[in-house]
């Protein structure tokens, strides 16, 4: 900003409201929490600075580390299912929806997005009802097509529960990648597609060769949003399985682990200091993912200005 140039006040005016609200209500409280992870209860009811001792306990002490690694492993599986199921389905639906002159496209788009607008309270409850062996819509339907033997109380079995919940979450959120990719596909100018057709590139190969490279930035965005969303997930597990993430912690992810530690459950009292340490670990994991995205992926993508 060398001499002679006027101060560009408009930049400050544009930035100020967002930065102020965001700093006061998000950054300051968050760093308060991170700071708290470096403290623990001291003698005589005081609070001592303990450095990284809480993290050493979390990763090393068997009472904590077992639960932590279990939650982290479950969380990775949860994320993997979203990446392998939710995002491909979302992209495929968006590609089909963006077919020119498809009838009822608006209806499909609106309908497929509806699960995303439902609250976790509703989603957790309705899937518990459908999958319940007692009320039995799922067993009844499998019976009708002669596959009753395939039915199991999926939410109640250790080996299936986490995958089932991940698929419920995929069902709920598939609308988000669909909408973002759909908007990106519509923003591809007609001239580009017409030029492709002139060259005889149509149908599937048009999607793979022309459209997919152009929507890669959007795919990058949905990947990082999925990562962040999954590693912050909490509500669905809480609503469907409770804070104990049963059966036998098989659906425990970092969010529920944090909640239990922070607020306590049953007879165990809440521990804000260890809770803050878990929050700090989640923060580090997510920060790592976002850095991979920003420096590994985003900088290599080409952005096209039409």
């Amino acid at each position: 900003m060398a001499r002679g140039k006027p101060v560009r006040w408009h930049i400050a005016v544009f930035l100020a409201p967002a930065v102020l609200v965001y700093t006061a209500l998000m950054i300051i409280p968050l760093f308060g929490t991170l700071g708290q992870s470096l403290f623990n209860k001291g003698g005589e009811g005081g609070v001592d600075f303990v450095g990284l001792a809480n993290f050493a306990t979390l990763f090393g002490d068997p009472r904590w580390s077992e639960a932590f690694w279990n939650a982290l492993g479950n969380n990775l599986w949860f994320f993997l299912i979203h990446m392998l199921v939710q995002n491909p389905i979302g992209i495929a639906l968006a590609a089909i929806l963006s077919t020119p002159r498809l009838r009822m496209a608006a209806f499909y788009r609106t309908a497929i997005f509806i699960p995303t607008i439902l609250s976790f309270v509703i989603v957790g409850f309705v899937w518990k009802l459908i999958l319940s062996p007692i009320w039995g819509i799922a067993p009844g339907m499998l019976d009708a097509v002669g596959l009753k033997s395939l039915f199991a109380p999926w939410l109640g079995r250790e080996e299936y529960a986490l995958t089932t919940l991940a698929l419920i979450s995929v069902w709920q959120f598939v609308g988000i990648p669909m909408m973002l990719i759909y908007a990106a596909l519509l923003n591809i100018p007609d001239e580009v597609l017409e030029a492709a057709e002139m060259d005889g590139i149509t149908g599937m190969s048009q999607f793979w060769k022309i459209k997919l490279p152009l929507i890669l930035p959007s795919i990058g965005i949905i990947s990082i949003l999925t990562f962040v969303g999954n590693f912050n997930a909490f509500d669905l597990i809480y609503v469907a399985q409770g804070a104990l993430a049963g059966p036998d912690f098989s659906t425990d992810i970092l969010g529920t682990f944090l909640y239990r530690t922070f607020f306590g459950f049953q007879l165990q009292l809440g521990d804000p200091y260890m809770g803050s340490a878990i929050a700090g670990a989640m923060f580090a994991i997510i920060l790592f993912g976002v850095c991979v995205y920003l420096w590994g992926i985003q900088t290599r993508l080409r952005r096209y200005q039409f």
């Binding site: 967002a18 309270v121 009320w135 519509l186 965005i221 989640m282 923060f283 997510i286 920003l294």
Partner: protein, 279 residues
């Protein structure tokens, strides 16, 4: 552009895929709404049957309307969601414009600073937020929720909107500058209309978590006068867990408003996208 691009087989396949997925998406909602109109016995005997006259029963809805103050809850949710959404979109677009349009010292740093909030759940700071609200005397007010949700929505809004604003043609903005428009006019009259599809997308994505949030209403505004509809229905389900008629009716009533709200915005979304501003 008038030529037919698709063979009939492809069109039929496309519809088949979309119809299948639509059924998967809507089936659970259908189950809740249909069963909420049936008698208790019919809910268990024939969960998939439509509420024909012999099963038809409104007892669930009667229980709900006697018990909860659903209209007040709905009004609270409405105020919180709409006001937060307004601030998120306005402040978010302004900041996104500053970041994507101007080169200034600290631009990248500011972008990263604002993007930080996408990845950290604001919930991690709940205890400190509660302290702030207690000091400010804002506990049990809708203002507390609006402030928190505005902060929560801003990072994603700035991130998505600045991605889209980078694709707005520079020539257009420079033409505006040559015509003597101020930077504010360029933002409000040239750029904002062009990123309308992105604004609609951000609106939908911001609105949903706010409307459905259980956490902050429970901690910051649990009083009867400030309960949101999500909190209200959660409390109700807890109290009536064995009364299936009432629970299903409460769930249907909780779905209805957000569905209407979504359909209203969805039309906006479709118009925004198909008007294809950028083209």
């Amino acid at each position: 552009m008038a030529k037919a691009r698709l063979s009939p087989v492809r069109t039929i396949a496309a519809h088949a895929v979309l119809i299948t997925y639509t059924i998967i998406a809507l089936f659970p909602v259908f189950v809740i709404v249909v069963n909420s109109f049936k008698s208790r016995r019919a809910i268990f005997a024939e969960p998939l049957a439509l509420p024909w006259p012999e099963h038809f029963d409104l007892v669930g809805y009667q229980t709900v309307l006697r018990q909860g103050d659903f209209f007040l809850y709905f009004q609270n949710s409405m105020i919180v969601t709409v006001v937060s959404l307004f601030f998120v979109l306005l402040f978010g677009a302004m900041a996104a414009f500053a970041l994507s349009e101007y080169r200034f010292r600290g631009n990248t740093l500011m972008g990263l600073y604002l993007a930080l909030g996408i990845m950290i759940p604001i919930r991690l700071g709940t205890v400190a937020i509660l302290q702030i609200m207690v000091e400010g005397g804002l506990v049990n007010t809708l203002t507390a929720l609006i402030l928190v949700y505005t902060a929560q929505g801003l990072p994603l809004a700035v991130f998505i909107l600045s991605e889209f604003m980078r694709t707005v043609s520079d020539d257009l903005k420079n033409a505006g500058r040559i015509d003597g428009l101020s930077e504010y006019r360029i933002f409000f009259t040239l750029v904002l209309p062009l990123v309308r599809p992105a604004m609609a997308t951000v609106a939908v994505f911001t609105m949903i978590p706010i409307w459905n949030d259980l956490w902050f209403p429970l901690i910051l505004a649990p009083s009867e006068a400030t309960k949101t509809i999500t909190l209200g229905s959660q409390v109700f389900i807890g109290q009536f867990v064995t009364n299936w008629n009432a629970v299903l009716a409460a769930l249907s009533l909780a779905i209805l408003p957000v569905l209407v709200l979504y359909l209203v915005f969805s039309r906006q979304l479709i118009r925004g996208i198909t008007a294809g501003a950028v083209k």
